[in-house]
Symmetry: C2
Subunit: 413 residues, 2 copies
């Protein structure tokens, strides 16, 4: 059977992942979505030259000798427009964000002044022309593109959208995702307790992993291992853009996933990938669907989701950074490596003066989900490695990071 | 006026931040919340010794010479219990996750075998005793604590909760947060366009920053700069656990925020912090409330939120890692530094073979929110720095990272 390499499998999946259509949603729901159109400024911001500080609007050339007394012409508060012109020997009391009056060219901060009387102030320190003034249009200029299609809507971007009064935001749609577990041995969350059964964790870890991308998936429950039940459940799953089948990659005689997918015209591109944990991972497509078959082992399932499914879901949503961020850490102990697979070792990260230190979690068995619960990241062991030494610089993929990067592991593999 | 240092201000805020009560919520809503109780395993997992692979359950001592022919006694699928005992010269066909039959002690993978007839298989490769068996209770053991109170519910933790059938999860409550903008110069998102006004960005950036922590805040809109309107709006805000007031830190004569807070028995702990951007930042408390006054400049507001408000909200929710993660990067250009403040420089991060490279965004004016929209992180310049050189190793706080750390900046400041 053909074992795809990790990069080949990732590339093939992304080649079969189209960006979705666009939709218009309220600003308050747009965090972490991807802008589908360029956004133009509809105003100058600031709308005029404004003070950057609370203080006094002055003419810089009046302050060649300080301290000096100036006559206060008016109080200008933010939101009100100035009435008077500042002439030599005069100044205006001004608030942060308030419009600079005619004649003034510089702002002196309140802490560099002393009030002498209600209409006289002593300026203690001069300033160069233009100090503490924010120029009209410095932030936004009418008609210019301020945000580009393809940008992720971070809090800063969301603030800009508010500034240009974009209350309804054009974004790429999110894929509709369904999750199906398979296996007679599985007990669902709401099923009665049976000590001989295995509780279904994968539906829920996959639910959480999809949710972490901002998508609310649909749980289709557990399909029994018979062709009729399975075909029925998979058909329901094909109503969604993306179907995740947990435990559907077995090669055993009791596996009905493959024939059922073939019958439903899903073209399977590969069934195995040369990674550990996780190698029994499969990917198929139809004109309307993507189907990912994830390993039944919960850790393998989680690792495969991060390497293959998450990048595809992110690409479909219009994201440009598809892969979880990696960082460099020092390894606190040696790690052996024999097989010709890329290996993902669950690690905890600590920090010392020299940077990050990675330590493998207790168990690395793919059945032990607790090791994933305790992990901060996945240490990546390249396929051709002969093992890693204590103290060696290693690449760790961060598991709980909202930031993504363009390439999966830099130049590592 | 007393300028608090950054660490002193952070410490004082956290001293005045109590962890909230606990509540019970459905598993599907529990992602990123914090467990409020230890969770015990209610079953062994696996419930018995199971096969880790699809293959054949054998007696290891039968395989001293390979290839060897064995008689297949039965097919054991996951979820069904074995009927036969495996004796010498026999084996059982077994699926991943299926129970190991009596007599068998080792599993041989399907790929190391050849089917000779329906009831005969040729084993090509031997294996040491116990290979590819997952032991009963290896993952979870009945009655033992599997998850500790205080753990953040990541996808892996959520999977464990599903395994122990914890459909209703005890977690710490989330603070109820209200956001109030102040200033006559501000125009709300739904107000008519007025070219002389400043659009209110801060309500929305704060909304997004709070949302990014998993909390849905309430927007109270814009309070006008007069004592009656302001007192009314702040009183509404004090119905919430946490009130964020944007633009309430000015020292100008038109500032009614201070007297209003005093009148409403909010004890203010400080009004300024020695950081740039962001130094006009204030913090107050009453027995029921926390009040944060954030600078009106949108970048300053965002920076103060990340340093002061987010750690407090996270502590209230029971999180133990309070501060955004930092990483070490090389600086691509020199950065000057004179004033005695900790400075936050907005930077973009790139990666090359040596690690991360940080480059300041175009404008560093605190009025230019676009610079925040384009930033990946905040480079931290210590207060006593005389400037940073190109190529120097610097600490960058990641802005879009779901992972947090115990200390704000390691030993840096």
């Amino acid at each position: 059977m053909n074992h795809f390499s990790l990069p080949a499998a990732q590339q093939l999946i992304l080649q079969h992942t189209a960006r979705l259509d666009t939709e218009i949603i309220p600003l308050a729901h747009s965090l972490n979505r991807v802008l589908a159109k360029d956004i133009l400024a509809n105003r100058d911001h600031p709308p005029y030259d404004v003070s950057a500080m609370d203080g006094y609007a002055v003419r810089a050339k009046n302050l060649s000798t300080c301290p000096i007394l100036l006559t206060v012409t008016e109080d200008i508060r933010a939101g009100a427009l100035p009435v008077m012109t500042v002439s030599d020997g005069q100044c205006a009391r001004i608030m942060t964000g308030a419009a600079l009056p005619h004649g003034a060219d510089t702002v002196i901060r309140a802490e560099d002044t002393e009030t002498v009387s209600p209409d006289t102030v002593q300026i203690n320190v001069g300033a160069t022309l233009g100090t503490d003034i924010r120029k009209q249009g410095e932030n936004l200029r009418t008609g210019t593109i301020v945000l580009q299609a393809g940008m992720t809507i971070t809090p800063g971007v969301l603030g800009i959208l508010a500034m240009v009064k974009c209350a309804q935001v054009p974004v790429y749609c999110q894929p509709r995702v369904a999750i199906l577990s398979t296996g007679d041995e599985l007990e669902g969350l709401d099923d009665p307790f049976d000590s001989n059964k295995i509780p279904d964790a994968n539906s829920h870890t996959l639910f959480a992993q999809v949710s972490a991308l901002g998508i609310t998936p649909t749980l289709l429950g557990i399909a029994q291992d018979n062709p009729v039940a399975l075909a029925h459940a998979i058909r329901r799953g094909l109503d969604y853009d993306v179907l995740l089948i947990s435990g559907g990659t077995s090669v055993g005689v009791h596996d009905y996933v493959r024939p059922t997918l073939a019958e439903l015209d899903i073209q399977m591109h590969f069934w195995r990938v040369a990674i550990r944990p996780g190698h029994p991972f499969a990917f198929g497509t139809s004109p309307k669907n993507q189907v990912f078959c994830l390993p039944g082992n919960p850790v393998s399932s989680m690792v495969c989701f991060e390497q293959f499914v998450a990048p595809a879901l992110r690409q479909a949503m219009g994201q440009r950074r598809l892969f979880r961020r990696t960082l460099t850490a020092r390894l606190s102990h040696a790690i052996g490596h024999r097989h010709q697979n890329v290996e993902f070792v669950r690690v905890q990260l600590a920090q010392d003066q020299q940077g990050y230190v990675a330590t493998a979690t207790d168990s690395q068995s793919s059945g032990v989900l607790l090791s994933m619960a305790h992990a901060d990241g996945l240490l990546i062991v390249p396929a051709d490695s002969n093992g890693l030494a204590a103290g060696e610089a290693v690449t760790v993929q961060c598991l709980y990071d909202m930031d993504y990067q363009n390439t999966p592991f830099g130049a590592l593999i």
